[in-house]
């Protein structure tokens, strides 16, 4: 069966520091991968998605970037965090663009 992992689970970082969040998927090949951000009590905002290694599409302009160095690895990064980057970051995978997305456990980021 397929599983999706995210780490760390929680992170507290100072403003201006770098960020690296990791997501890995097991049990499937060539998945579509997604990064979402969820503000407290709000819906899901799609940040990036990838249909293959090295292929990244950005949905909104922001202080973040994404990379996919391996088939089942998706990384969310920032060179300098802003207070507004705080939130709950979710990684998801699917077998195709119009298929169900399955979410990881999320990373809660607090920027102080």
């Amino acid at each position: 069966s397929q599983t999706i992992h995210q780490w760390p689970a929680t992170l507290v970082q100072p403003v201006g520091s770098p960020l690296s969040l990791e997501c890995t998927v097991e049990g499937t090949s060539n998945p579509n991968l997604y990064w979402y951000r969820q503000a407290a009590g709000r819906g899901l905002q799609l940040l990036f998605y990838s249909v293959g290694i090295g292929q990244i599409s950005s949905e909104v302009p922001q202080n973040l970037s994404a990379s996919r160095p391996q088939d089942r690895q998706f990384i969310l990064s920032s060179k300098k965090l802003l207070l507004s980057d705080s939130g709950f970051y979710l990684c998801a995978w699917s077998t195709g663009v119009q298929e169900t997305q399955y979410f990881g456990p999320g990373t809660r980021l607090l920027v102080l």
Partner: protein, 112 residues
């Protein structure tokens, strides 16, 4: 802006009663819909999906109804239990869109 919205942001029901969570969508071209359940501090969990060639689909204690005429989607939970307490999101997709569009969510509280 978001094309998927919810009629009620919060819903409180008595344990054992049936729950109905509603969702409106604005794009008549949407042809795939998903309901997710998100418990506090966790990633969204897939509940049930439906494609536009159907108007009803049943799972274990859950039923999704799709009314394409009025662009309305609902999730019915039978014999609601305390473990059903969570935020429920609907999501839509259409062929040219590629990615899911999420609604803001409805918080379901189950009173013992």
């Amino acid at each position: 802006g978001e094309s998927v919205g919810l009629h009620l942001p919060t819903l409180s029901v008595q344990e054992g009663d049936n729950s109905i969570i509603n969702c409106a969508y604005s794009n008549s071209a949407s042809d795939y819909f998903i309901w997710y359940k998100q418990e506090s501090g966790k990633g969204p969990q897939f509940i049930i999906d439906i494609r536009s060639n159907m108007d009803k689909r049943q799972g274990q204690r859950v039923t999704v109804l799709l009314n394409k005429t009025v662009k309305h989607l609902s999730l019915q939970i039978a014999a609601t239990q305390p473990g059903d307490s969570a935020v429920y999101f609907c999501a839509e997709n259409w062929t040219s869109q590629g990615n899911l569009i999420f609604g803001k969510g409805t918080k379901l509280s189950v009173k013992p």
